[in-house]
């Protein structure tokens, strides 16, 4: 089963990298960019076919390692 975990900074947490990317995009001639927040994507292949169990394991992976929940949120998508 293929899963995608997206980790993003929580709202209100300063994102200097996102700000630098935003500045660079504007410099490249994209004045319509209003804001950029950067994050991480993990593509994870999980053994088994039980989606519920995979989701529960992935949640645990996010809580234990993939995200630092002090500053980050995570979202889990499972591909059908």
């Amino acid at each position: 089963m293929k899963a995608r975990v997206t980790v993003t900074l929580k709202a209100g947490v300063l994102d200097p990298q996102g700000q630098a990317i935003e500045g660079s995009l504007k410099g490249l001639g994209f004045p319509q960019v209003a804001s950029v927040r950067q994050g991480k994507v993990f593509d994870i292949v999980v053994d088994g076919t039980d989606e519920e169990s995979a989701r529960s394991h992935l949640t645990s992976m996010c809580e234990k390692l993939l995200a630092n929940t002090v500053i980050e949120n995570y979202a889990i998508e499972i591909a059908n």
Partner: protein
């Protein structure tokens, strides 16, 4: 003072820390490799600075999940003193031994220079060698030292005297909230700080303002 230094792959300040502990305490610290499963009986456990696991995922994130960290957590709960410097501070935060997180420097630049620190709580085992409000010199060298905690946590820490060191006015190198450079846990037996006191302990370093941190600890343990 008996001490131990935990070494993870990718740390590079371990030798400096071992030298500082040896010079100040007169005893060579035990070196504990991250795959070891036991910690020796010591008064102080130190995680030095560097780039454990190449800073992959987040600084300190992988090291914080090593088996030795469960042993460290047990010792911290027993009241053993734990010191984390730079990457060691990042590891203690990722392991949940201290509150908050360290983010990329606001400037996005790696900062390697000397700063001035204000001793904000001199009534701890780590800071008893200093006087309250004393301004000391200390080198910093990091890319991710921008301390963050939610406002509730910050307020509690400020109220409970858990801010050990702050960057003195005008020298904050990373944009950390409330100019925080080093923090304590609620029990005040765990200290994490970004600056490197182990790199300023004798005249050959150009100063010895960092020495009192170690000599203060020595007095406490003796």
């Amino acid at each position: 003072m008996k001490s131990a230094v935990i070494v993870f792959p990718g740390l590079n300040r371990d030798r400096d820390m071992i030298a500082a502990l040896t010079k100040v305490s007169g005893t060579t610290p035990a070196i504990v490799w991250h795959q070891d499963t036991e910690l020796p009986q010591v008064d102080l456990i130190v995680i030095p600075g560097g780039f454990s696991y190449g800073d992959y995922l987040r600084c300190g994130a992988i090291a914080a999940r090593s088996p030795i960290m469960d042993r460290l957590r047990e010792r911290a709960e027993q009241g053993v003193k734990v010191l984390g410097v730079c990457n060691g501070f990042q590891i203690l935060l990722e392991a949940g031994l201290l509150p908050g997180a360290l983010m990329r420097n606001q400037s996005l630049k790696f900062v390697c220079r000397e700063v001035k620190l204000e001793v904000c709580n001199a009534d701890t085992a780590f800071t008893r060698g200093y006087s309250q409000g004393q301004i000391i010199r200390c080198p910093v060298a990091h890319h991710d030292g921008n301390y963050f905690a939610d406002s509730e946590t910050l307020e509690r820490m400020e109220g409970d005297g858990l801010i050990a060191f702050r960057y003195a006015q005008g020298t904050n190198p990373n944009g950390s909230l409330n100019n925080i450079a080093g923090i304590l846990n609620a029990r005040k037996n765990v200290l994490g700080l970004m600056p490197h006191p182990e790199n300023l302990i004798e005249a050959a370093h150009g100063g010895d303002d960092g020495r009192a941190l170690f000599s203060g600890l020595l007095g406490q343990a003796a």
